[in-house]
Amino acid sequence: MIDMINIGMDIGLLGVLLACALLILRSGSLLAIILLSAAYSLSICALFVILDAVDVAFTEAAVGAGISTVLMLAVIRRQDESLHAPRWPSAISVVTGLGLGLLLIVGTLDMSMYGNPLAPVHLHLAPRFIGQSGAETGIPNVVTSVLASYRGYDTLGEVVVIFAAGLSVLLLLPSANTETGEEHEDRQRRAWIADNPILKAALLRVIPLVLLFALYVQFHGDYGPGGGFQAGVIFGAGVITFGLLCGLGKLLAILSERWVSIGMAAGVLLYAGTGVAAMWRGGNFLDYSTLAETPTAGQHTGILLIELGVGITVAFTMISLFICFSRGRD
């Protein structure tokens, strides 16, 4: 019964996704496209929950619907909000798209059916993760333990990617540029939140709660959905809200750009440093078991540290992105 409801919701949400995608394809307004893509993200989030991927859903909500949308909105300008959508897709895209699509459809024909517990994908690695990760790392959230320990190195890579993005924005949008008149006007146009005293007061009171929630997500990631990445995004969102309300100047007065970039780097260093510490204590890189008396305690310590590293880098990168994109100097 539950399965039937799930499948029904699944099909419904897939329909929404398709609709969003088609509308994005046909739409001529950039603003509409960005909002549609946020709606798309939220739908796919819901789908992920149905498919039992709560951590992914959490991340997608924070990233797809949250950060991406904010960044996009920060970037668009009035003059490029409307664009000429092509009436029909071009021949080259149709040929490429259909060709690859058909290839993929053929590729699906040998796949296991949806939800089949005997699919090869469930039989090799997953049983150990589900069966033993609890004992091996002492963490109930299997996604967290795999993410942070078994495949902790991938996660280090992920943090480095985020760091690279932060770096790139620092390089591409340095602070020395001046604002054009048009850009200034745009900023004025978007400053309405700060001009609304009630909204401002209300939101300012929410910020501490957001930061607190971020800490909760950070440290509760072992037991439920969440973890360093989601926490970092939320923390960043809190600070960004502050920046939106009180102005960039005030934010920069508290948190200078230099410190933001150091923060970005510090997270990576904390993460990689944990790995090096493990080497120092005689284990392999990122082998947390060596970090404490017992392997399980070591795993616990290690995961705590690296999740903190992830959170720091992500939070500061988000702040940095916000600062650079909305500097007004653009």
Binding site: L103, Y150, R151, L167, S261, M264, A266, A272, V276, F285
Partner: protein
């Protein structure tokens, strides 16, 4: 062959630059950042040399990251092929890093910031990570690290169009990376594992089904974009052209080469060569792409007005030789591919250094403005001439050795007519090379040519001379190098990665 699991060398190869990159930012001083870049380059070269020495002693390095055994954890694996590619890219990287100290010739201030050096370090860290990893998903992650860093580095070019080039590369690169991710997903779906050795064994047991074949197709397209496989090369000419000089050197010597290595590794390990041939005519697809590339790209290069982009097209052509070697699928073919991978890395790095200096000194990149330039900038022009002759593959140069080995491999495979396009390709290279030689030596001088001092700085000529010396040496005495390439190729083709288990 003995397995070594205790050595930290494989992981140090990757994390040394990865740790130094954030340190650059924390310290925030450009001199220190330069120092870090150089330190990392020297250390990485040392590590790769040590790994190569170990591999030549018959060792194979396995490193379990996080202490988790594969396939549950991620593992690094260094076998002869890995060591060969590591040595190649880290050698070029070392010299590119030295060259980078010269300050990129009029590029904007960006290239002197600590964050530039941090991005540089991340780029090379990602590339090394792609080489040593034995995990399909980890490959994707490091592919993205290097890609992101590459986009940034390209966008630092002196011309505004660097931004457009970087953006286009970003879009194409992201599509390619997504294809790779998709391919990894399909493979995982059918086998339940991500470790490449484990994947290979499971695919061998299970045989080819349509999902796996599609995974292979998407993988080839995705990684083909990264290595500028002929019809997917669109991003390369502009990216190389507009990137800062040292970045062009770095990219041409390492980035495409690593992608080619990954292609080679996947085709031969994951889908053992037999399988590729049975399931689809992949070998012929690669060979046809390669032949088209080696014949058409030089023709485009011949019509190119910019010196730097002309050599970028030449890279497309030269990559095609490697692709043909990969496509042959035989030990000899793979050995030829690896050999040319090395040879082209050093030659093209040298050429792009010379091009960078020449453009900086004359103030122009247009070929038709370079008339008689050889009489003012003799040293640089002779380096270019030497590099050009090597690209053509004249006897006595490294280019000839790789051409010889490739043509022999082609004939060994029994398709001797294929030797004709390969040889015609080198003839086509001669056409564009000779165009610039003619311009630089025999055409009248251009009036607007800025009379810049012709002296060449130590950090500029030193890496060039080292590369030239290597090219001369390996052109005249290639037995050692070819021996290693043969060893690497036979370890890849005949025994496969499965031997590690």
């Amino acid at each position: 062959m003995s397995l070594v699991t205790a050595s930290h060398l494989p992981v140090l190869q990757v994390i040394v630059p990865m740790l130094l990159a954030p340190l650059c930012i924390v310290i925030g001083n450009r001199t220190v950042a330069r120092g870090f870049m150089l330190t990392a380059a020297i250390a990485m070269f040392g590590i790769s040399a040590a790994l190569m020495a170990g591999v030549l002693d018959g060792r194979i390095y396995i490193y379990e990251l996080g202490g988790w055994a594969a396939p549950w954890g991620i593992e690094y694996l260094v076998d002869p092929v890995t060591a060969f590619v590591l040595l190649t890219i880290n050698l070029v990287h070392l010299l590119a890093a030295v060259f980078c100290l010269s300050g990129n010739h009029g590029a904007p201030d960006e290239t002197a910031r600590p964050s530039f050096f941090a991005a540089w370090l991340l780029c090379i860290s990602g590339l090394n990570g792609m080489v040593v990893t034995n995990d399909a998903f980890n490959l994707f992650v490091f592919l993205e690290i290097s890609s992101l860093a590459t986009y940034v580095l390209i966008s630092c070019g002196r011309d505004h169009r660097a931004l457009l080039a970087a953006y286009r590369y970003l879009v194409m690169g992201a599509v390619g990376a997504t294809f790779v991710l998709l391919s990894v997903g399909l493979l995982y779906m059918q086998t339940g594992t991500l470790n490449i050795s484990d994947l290979a064994n499971r695919i061998a047991e299970k045989g080819a089904d349509r999902t796996i074949i599609m995974a292979l197709s998407f993988f080839v397209i995705g990684i083909g974009i990264k290595c500028a496989l002929f019809p997917l090369h669109d991003w390369l000419p502009n990216a190389y052209n507009y990137a800062p000089d040292s970045v062009t050197v770095l990219l041409s010597g390492t980035a495409t080469k690593v992608a080619l290595y990954v292609l080679l590794r996947f085709l031969h390990d994951l889908f053992s060569a037999d399988f590729s041939i049975l399931a689809m005519p992949l070998d012929w697809i690669l060979i046809v792409c390669g032949v088209l590339g080696m014949l058409l790209a030089p023709l485009i290069a011949l019509r190119e007005s910019s010196l730097k982009r002309m050599f970028a097209w030449s890279s497309v052509a030269q990559i095609s030789y490697i692709v043909v070697g990969v496509g042959l699928g035989t030990t000899a073919g793979v050995a030829a591919a690896l050999l040319h991978l090395f040879n082209h890395s050093i030659i093209k790095a040298m050429i792009f250094m010379a091009v960078g200096i020449l453009i900086a000194r004359t103030g122009t990149a247009r070929i038709r403005h370079l008339g008689s330039v050889a009489h003012h900038h003799r040293f640089v022009c002779y380096i270019l001439l030497f590099g050009g002759l090597s690209l053509i593959g004249l006897p006595g140069t490294t280019g000839f050795v790789s051409k010889w080995v490739l043509v022999t491999a082609v004939i060994d495979k029994g398709s001797w007519w294929l030797a004709i396009p390969v040889l015609a390709g080198s003839l086509a290279s001669a056409s564009y090379i000779w165009r610039i030689v003619e311009t630089m030596w025999a055409k009248p001088a251009h009036l607007e040519l800025a009379a810049q001092p012709s002296g060449v700085h130590f950090v500029e000529w030193f890496p060039m001379v080292i590369l030239a010396a290597l090219a001369v040496w390996f052109g005249l005495n290639a037995t050692w190098l070819t021996g290693i390439a043969d060893l690497a190729a036979s370890s890849l083709v005949e025994t496969g990665i499965g031997v590690a288990r």
